[in-house]
């Protein structure tokens, strides 16, 4: 009996849950990766439905993508930025990189990290090895030169 009920439930679903999307035929599953180039070619046609660019702003300026999770924030965003920075530029300018990198020192820069002018005997910074050129290390994410942190940081 329960199988009959299950089958009836499936049939009801198939007939009742019928709703057709009003999106154009071009908006298939490939569109998510293609819409950026299309919007540059013909921005006016997007505005026929996406009034006032609100939907552009919602995804590109307001709410972060789903894959920007805790792991992304902790580490993988740096990897992605090394591998393909063009993709970041769909939403970000350099300004948003600096919004965090000027506020938040890495976890390693705590306690006995020391620094270039520190007299702390442990001075982990000095024991972390020399890193030249600095651009070829993760230090280069914030420090343009080996002993000259970016002017913006003021430190």
């Amino acid at each position: 009996m329960k199988y009959v009920i299950s089958i009836m439930f499936c049939l009801i679903c198939m007939t009742v849950f019928a709703y057709q999307t009003s999106k154009p035929e071009t908006h298939d599953n490939m569109w998510m990766k293609q819409h950026g180039a299309e919007s540059k070619a013909d921005p006016a046609s997007c505005l026929d439905c996406h009034e006032n660019r609100t939907s552009c702003i919602k995804c590109h300026n307001d709410t972060a993508p789903r894959d920007h999770n805790a792991s992304f924030k902790r580490k993988t965003h740096g990897l992605k930025a090394q591998w393909d920075r063009d993709k970041c530029l769909a939403c970000h300018t350099e300004a948003s990189c600096f919004a965090c990198h000027q506020n938040s020192a890495p976890i390693s820069h705590r306690g006995d990290w020391g620094g270039t002018t520190s007299t702390n005997d442990k001075n982990l910074h000095c024991r972390s090895g020399c890193h030249y050129p600095v651009q070829e290390t993760t230090c280069g994410t914030c420090h343009m030169t080996s002993h000259g942190p970016r002017e913006l940081f003021g430190n």
Partner: protein, 475 residues
């Protein structure tokens, strides 16, 4: 065994019913809410505004609660959105329209300032950097006058000026159309609006044109000047777009501060064979050195952050396979000219997806995806790679209710300063949206992340949760 046979029977019956009574023509269009698989946002469009002159005033409020939580830290934020627009109201011989879209966000844990003393501060966000009160973002707030002066459009206020480049600014943008709509000339100027920097002394201005040379061929060009935090940029672009019956071909040349790049891309769509093909070729012609300055280029330009010469080729084909299935295959190759460095890497990337449309019910959309990314070694690091596979499912229950479910498994292999590491990140998310009527809607999204990447902070730290609740009301 009986249960298995019953399941098979039900599946066969379901599939058979759909295939028999399915869509008249193949239609691979994704559901309305499909973008939630990329970005879990829920500002739902609510309709039916109030009469305003001979136009309409639409006002909606959306409240959003966001919770991020793990065993060691949680962070809660509240956002309030206001969206209002006035559709065309007659003014003289033309019309006026207006848009207001803004949000105010607050860290409701009441703990302003990044928790630099804590090991788990990655759970915080930009709101935690605000010292106090509400962080307000104005996304748009402008009035647009169309045809009030014949053949002109003038937009005044906070706006995304979108011509050949896009720039968010407070200012004025105007265009005039000439030669029977064949030529549009525009100019804009104002103060760039960035949410992250002190932009009080910044400036932006530009001019350009769009010429419709034929019904299919469009030529556009523009110049933009941006000055931000004592960094100024001059951006020139020239672009041609050619549309034909089955697609489009575009080419764009740009130069920012003397550095040149170009892109050629095209799309071919053939409905009878259910085939879509896209190809893109991109090249950065100059080496952009990482000097002593704060920024590589101007901090708010959307271009040229990559600073090594490269060539990039992308190709993707999406092929329908009957009425209820489609498959996509893509490849992307970036070839760095010269020696690969930490931030300038050559890579090859392959992607694939298999989509099932209308399986089980006419309004079920299932996509299975897989990506592989191999990044070349650099001077001091080994090869990196990422493998992703997952699935995305949307079930449209009615014109009022949508449900979604998805999962992704990521495997990262990377080499930073401490040798090669291999880590998994697993994600599962579940959500739904319901429109109670034309004035009220609710959206809920929950996600779970299991990650090895956080174990360098604490060996017990691998599970993270997030919940977002959105409520939209039209006034």
């Amino acid at each position: 065994m009986r249960k298995i046979l019953s399941c098979i029977f039900m599946l066969a019956l379901g599939a058979g019913s759909v295939f028999a009574s399915g869509l008249d023509d193949a239609d691979y269009t994704t559901p309305e809410s499909w973008q939630v698989h990329t970005t879990p946002q829920g500002i739902t469009k609510t309709a039916n505004g109030h009469k305003f002159g001979d136009g309409t005033l639409n006002v909606s409020l959306t409240s959003r609660y966001k919770l991020l939580d793990n065993d060691y830290q949680s962070d809660q934020n509240f956002y309030q959105y206001l969206k209002a627009d006035v559709t065309s109201v007659s003014v003289g011989q033309g019309t006026m329209s207006g848009v207001l879209f803004m949000r105010a966000g607050k860290d409701i844990d009441g703990d302003g300032g990044y928790k630099q003393s804590g090991r788990y501060y990655f759970r915080d966000d930009i709101l935690d950097a605000e010292d106090s009160g509400w962080a307000v973002r104005m996304y748009q707030g402008f009035l647009k006058f169309s045809g009030v002066v014949k053949n002109t459009n003038v937009t005044i206020g906070n706006q995304y000026v979108t011509h050949i480049d896009t720039i968010h600014m407070n200012g004025i943008d105007g265009d005039v159309t000439l030669l029977n709509d064949r030529l549009t000339v525009y100019a804009f100027g104002g103060q760039p609006d960035t949410f992250y920097l002190d932009d009080s002394d910044s400036k932006a201005a530009g001019t350009g044109f769009v010429a419709k040379l034929t019904d299919r061929l469009k030529l556009s060009s523009g110049y933009t000047y941006v000055d931000m935090e004592d960094e100024s940029s001059d951006i020139y672009k020239l672009r041609a777009d050619y549309n034909y019956a089955k697609g489009r071909v575009s080419g764009e040349y740009g130069n920012t501060d003397g550095n040149s790049f170009y892109t050629v891309d095209g799309v071919y769509r053939n409905s009878p064979t259910k085939t879509t093909l896209s190809i893109s070729f991109q090249q950065l012609l100059d080496e952009i050195g990482k000097g002593e300055g704060t920024y590589i280029t101007n901090p708010i330009t959307y271009s040229l952050s990559p600073y090594g010469k490269y060539t990039k080729v992308k190709a993707k084909v999406y092929q329908g396979l009957g009425k209820h299935m489609a498959a996509g295959l893509g490849a992307e190759v970036k070839n760095r000219t010269g020696e690969d460095t930490l931030d300038n890497r050559s890579y090859v990337k392959y992607s694939g997806n298999l989509d099932f449309i209308g399986l089980f019910t006419p309004d079920t959309f299932l996509s299975l995806t897989a990506d592989y990314w191999n990044i070349a070694e650099s001077i001091d690091t080994e090869e990196n790679s990422q493998v992703v596979f997952g699935g995305e499912l949307t079930q449209v229950l009615s014109d009022k209710t949508n449900l979604w479910l998805g999962s992704r498994f990521n495997r990262f292999e990377y080499d930073l300063d401490n040798g090669t590491e291999k880590n998994w990140v697993r994600e599962v998310y579940l959500g739904g949206e319901h429109k109670f009527n034309e004035r009220a809607a609710l959206s809920l999204d929950m996600s779970y992340e299991n990650s090895e990447i956080l174990k360098d902070l604490n060996t017990d730290l691998e599970q993270n949760y997030s919940v977002e609740l959105w409520v939209s009301l039209a006034i």
